[in-house]
């Protein structure tokens, strides 16, 4: 949502497995680059892997951190999200859009 719809000119997503396996092309893109990570659980695979690859994680989030305001909602499954699930995804995307704006404001 962030990379394709909301900030297509300022962001790019990379395959996490490529990051973790140390794919040359991906490592070259990440090393020294400003990165935002959004992890699905507290294991922080995305954040840890990007940091180990040499990316500069300036903003890091995990999905459960924002769940409090959504208690009781049914978000669907890994196959299909419900309307509430999509609304939550949009909210998470907006958090990253704000991150992008802040980062750009700091850089420019």
């Amino acid at each position: 949502m962030v990379t394709e719809e909301k900030c297509p000119n300022d962001t790019e997503t990379l395959c996490l497995a490529h990051v973790v396996t140390g794919d040359d092309e991906v490592v070259a893109k990440i090393k020294g680059a400003t990165c935002i990570t959004m992890d699905g659980c507290a294991k922080y695979c995305a954040k840890k892997s990007v940091e180990e690859t040499g990316g500069i994680v300036v903003k890091s989030h995990k999905v459960p951190d924002f769940m409090k305001a959504h208690r009781g909602e049914e978000h669907g499954t890994g196959t299909a999200l419900t309307e509430d699930g999509w609304n939550y995804a949009v909210e998470l995307a907006e958090i990253m859009v704000e991150d992008v704006k802040e980062i750009k404001a700091g850089v420019n």
């Binding site: 394709e4 997503t13 395959c15 996490l16 497995a17 973790v20 695979c45 840890k48 499954t77 299909a80």
Partner: protein, 135 residues
């Protein structure tokens, strides 16, 4: 009753359509085609070496479902655990160019994409059934 576990690890491919197809194909297996018979593992967690993921793939036959010909899932299983019991490359089913297309939100998937999901899930099921028959 099935007592032996069979694992399926899907590509995490956030970068390409093949990744989306591979993940949905594994979900289709878990929910529709082989409910209660498939154990899936998180690929980034498997590669990062946390939890019992690697141990699972050492002990039980595991199928890799990869979204592109880089075959991260297959390579990871063989590097950290054991030989894969089988592997599926979405790029071989739908073609490399399509597999490397931009990823799609699941809201925007068309019938064409759902057909790719079906073909990938069917191929994975064939491998699954062969493994099951040998046990």
């Amino acid at each position: 009753m099935i007592t032996t576990k069979i694992g399926v690890i899907s590509c995490s491919g956030e970068e390409c359509l093949g990744g989306t197809i591979s993940r949905l194909a594994v979900r289709k297996m878990m929910e529709e085609l082989k409910p209660g018979m498939v154990s899936t593992l998180c690929l980034p967690l498997f590669i990062a070496g946390d939890g019992g993921e690697r141990e699972f793939a050492e002990k039980y036959p595991t199928i890799a479902v990869d979204g592109c010909s880089k075959c991260c899932a297959k390579r990871a299983i063989e590097k950290y655990s054991n030989r894969v019991a089988g592997s599926v490359d979405v790029a071989e089913i739908i073609g490399e160019a399509k597999a490397l297309d931009k990823p799609l939100s699941t809201r925007n998937l068309a019938d064409e994409h759902m057909e790719y999901v079906k073909q990938t899930a069917d191929k994975t099921c064939q491998i699954f059934d062969k493994i099951l028959a040998k046990q």
